[in-house]
C-alpha cells in the first residue's frame, strides 16, 4: 500500500497485539521502532534516545510531576511519558519532546490506523 506524500505504508502491528502492554518494538527496513499506546492513540518513535543512543523502548512509561508553583508537587500525565532507561530523560510520548528542553526530540514516524491495523509510513 502507498500512503500519503508517496510514502510507503508498512503494516507493523494489529491493535490487539498490544494486549496489556503499553509498547511493542517492531523492525522496519532494519530500523527498530517503538510503538506506544497512549490512551486510545498510537505513536511510533525510533528506539534510540537522542541523548546517548539508549534503547528508549526499554524505559518506563509513566506519569510525572507537572509544572507547578514553588514547593508544590502535582503528579499527572500517567502513561504519557517515557523515561529513558539510562539517564532518565523524560519524553512526551505524544510529541516526542524532552520535558526539560522541548528542542530535543525523539525521532518519530507517522503511524496510521486502518481498522485494527497499524501502518507505519516511511
Amino acid at each position: 500500500m502507498t500512503g500519503r506524500e508517496g510514502k510507503q505504508a508498512y503494516p507493523v502491528a494489529r491493535v490487539g497485539d498490544f494486549g496489556e502492554a503499553d509498547r511493542l518494538v517492531v523492525q522496519v527496513k532494519n530500523v527498530e521502532i517503538g510503538l506506544f499506546k497512549v490512551g486510545n492513540d498510537y505513536y511510533a518513535w525510533r528506539n534510540l534516545c537522542p541523548h546517548a543512543a539508549a534503547p528508549i523502548c526499554a524505559g518506563t512509561v509513566c506519569g510525572t510531576m507537572l509544572p507547578s508553583g514553588v514547593y508544590e508537587h502535582e503528579f499527572g500525565r500517567e502513561g504519557e511519558i517515557v523515561r529513558c532507561p539510562w539517564h532518565n530523560w523524560e519524553f512526551d510520548l505524544r510529541t516526542g519532546e524532552l520535558l526539560a528542553d522541548p528542542s530535543v526530540k525523539l525521532r518519530g514516524f507517522e503511524l496510521v490506523r486502518e481498522g485494527e491495523e497499524l501502518h507505519l509510513l516511511l
Partner: protein, 365 residues
C-alpha cells in the same frame, strides 16, 4: 554615550571604622560593654605563618587609623588614581554578625553599623554607595532592617556573609528576598566567614588546615549557595531579584551550569517549579565580582571561560581595597576582550545599581 556616564565602578571596597568606639553613638547602651569586649564576635581566621596581612601595608591613611577608615583618604589613595567613579561599600570585620550565637546581638550590631555607615561614609562623598548589613540567621529581623534602611537613597543593596548554617535557597531566607525585591535591592553575599562563628565547616569534609587552603576553596560555598538558590525556585518566586556573589571567583561557573543543566534533563521532576534550564536562572539573576580574578598561565583561557559563561552582563569589577588580594584595574582585566572589559568595569554595575551618571557635587576631595 553621555560624557557623564561612569567609566569605572568598584563593587567591593571595605570601609572600616577607625575603632570600635565609632559604633557606640549608634548602639544601645546595653550593648556597649559587649561590643567593646567582643567586637563582631565570630572568631578568628585560619592561621598562616604570621607573615601575611589581610590588609595592604600601603593602605594606612596618612592621618592614622586602620586601612580604609578615612573616606577622604580612600578617594585620594584608591578612587581618584584609578578613575573609579563609585565605590560600593561592603564593610570591614563586621559581616560575620550573622554567625554569632546570640541573634539579638547580631541584630543590634547590624542596625548600629547601618546607621554609622549612613551617617559617616555615605555623607562623606556621593562616590560612596552603601550595602545594608543584615543578620541572615534571624530572617525576620533582617526583613525589618531592610524595611528600615531600604528607602535610604544611597543604600544600593543588601549584604550578608556567605558563611551560614543553611543554604541560601532554603525557604527560611525567602522573606529576605521578598523584602529586597520589593525595595528594588540586589542581595549580595561576601566571603571570609566560611567556617567561622557558628557557620558550617568550609568543606563537607571539615576544616582546611591553613589560611591558604581555606582561601583556595571558598568557591565551593558559592557554588553551593547558587545551586541552592536555583533549585529551591527562589528566582521563580522572586523574578525581579538579583543576587550578587562577591569575591567568590567565577571560573567555576561553566562547570556548575553544565552539571546542573545535564542533571535537570533527567531529574527535572524533583524541581517541577523550574520552568527553564538552571543555567538560564543563573544568567538571569546572578552577578559575580571579579576579584580575586583567576590568573591562568595562559591569560587567554580567562576570556574563554567568560565566553563559556555566556553572560557578558553578569560580571562586575571589584578591587577588594584595602585587602591583600587587591586587583589593580589597570592590570587584572587586560586579557579580556575590550567591549566585555567595559561592561565589567562599569556598564553592568551601572545597570544593577542604577548609577547612570557620574557622582555630582562634592565628588572630589
Amino acid at each position: 554615550m553621555s560624557d557623564n556616564r561612569p567609566t569605572m565602578i568598584d563593587t567591593d571596597v571595605h570601609n572600616s571604622m577607625t575603632g570600635k568606639q565609632d559604633l557606640l553613638p549608634y548602639l544601645p547602651k546595653a550593648y556597649h560593654q559587649a561590643w567593646l569586649a567582643y567586637g563582631a564576635g565570630y572568631g578568628g581566621s585560619y592561621l598562616g605563618t604570621g607573615a601575611h596581612s589581610v590588609t595592604r601595608r600601603d593602605a594606612r591613611p596618612d592621618g592614622g587609623g586602620p586601612p580604609a577608615s578615612d573616606p577622604n583618604y580612600v578617594i585620594r589613595h584608591h578612587l581618584a588614581p584609578y578613575g573609579i567613579d563609585y565605590a560600593i561599600l561592603t564593610g570591614s570585620g563586621i559581616l560575620g554578625i550573622s554567625l554569632v550565637s546570640d541573634p539579638d546581638y547580631g541584630n543590634v550590631i547590624a542596625r548600629a553599623y547601618n546607621d554609622w555607615l549612613a551617617d559617616t561614609w555615605l555623607k562623606a562623598s556621593p562616590r560612596y554607595k552603601g550595602s545594608i548589613l543584615i543578620n541572615h540567621s534571624d530572617p525576620q529581623a533582617a526583613v525589618q532592617e531592610i524595611e528600615r534602611m531600604g528607602p535610604h537613597p544611597d543604600m544600593v543593596q543588601v549584604i550578608m556573609c556567605s558563611g551560614s548554617r543553611n543554604l541560601f535557597g532554603q525557604r527560611m531566607f525567602h522573606p529576605i528576598y521578598e523584602a529586597a525585591e520589593r525595595h528594588g535591592l540586589p542581595v549580595a553575599i561576601h566571603p571570609g566567614t566560611e567556617g567561622r562563628g557558628n557557620a558550617g565547616p568550609p568543606t563537607p569534609s571539615g576544616h582546611p588546615t591553613r589560611y591558604f587552603e581555606w582561601h583556595n576553596i571558598i568557591p565551593i560555598n558559592y557554588m553551593s549557595h547558587v545551586n541552592s538558590l536555583v533549585c529551591e525556585g527562589v528566582f521563580e518566586k522572586f523574578p525581579e531579584l538579583k543576587f550578587v556573589a562577591i569575591e567568590g571567583g567565577f571560573a567555576w561557573l561553566p562547570h556548575l551550569m553544565w552539571r546542573m543543566d545535564k542533571n535537570y534533563k533527567g531529574l527535572r521532576d524533583q524541581v517541577p517549579w523550574l520552568k527553564c534550564k538552571p543555567s538560564e536562572y543563573i544568567r538571569g539573576h546572578i552577578l559575580l565580582t571579579t576579584q580575586p580574578i583567576e590568573e591562568p598561565d595562559d591569560p587567554a583561557h580567562l576570556g574563554q571561560i567568560l565566553d563559556m559563561i555566556g553572560g557578558d552582563h553578569m560580571i562586575m569589577y571589584s578591587s577588594d581595597y584595602p585587602h591583600w588580594d587587591f586587583d589593580n584595574p589597570k592590570v587584572a582585566l587586560r586579557s579580556i576582550r575590550r567591549e566585555l572589559r567595559q561592561r565589567i568595569f562599569a556598564d553592568n554595575a551601572i545597570q544593577l545599581y542604577g548609577l547612570s551618571e557620574k557622582p555630582g557635587e562634592g565628588a572630589s576631595v
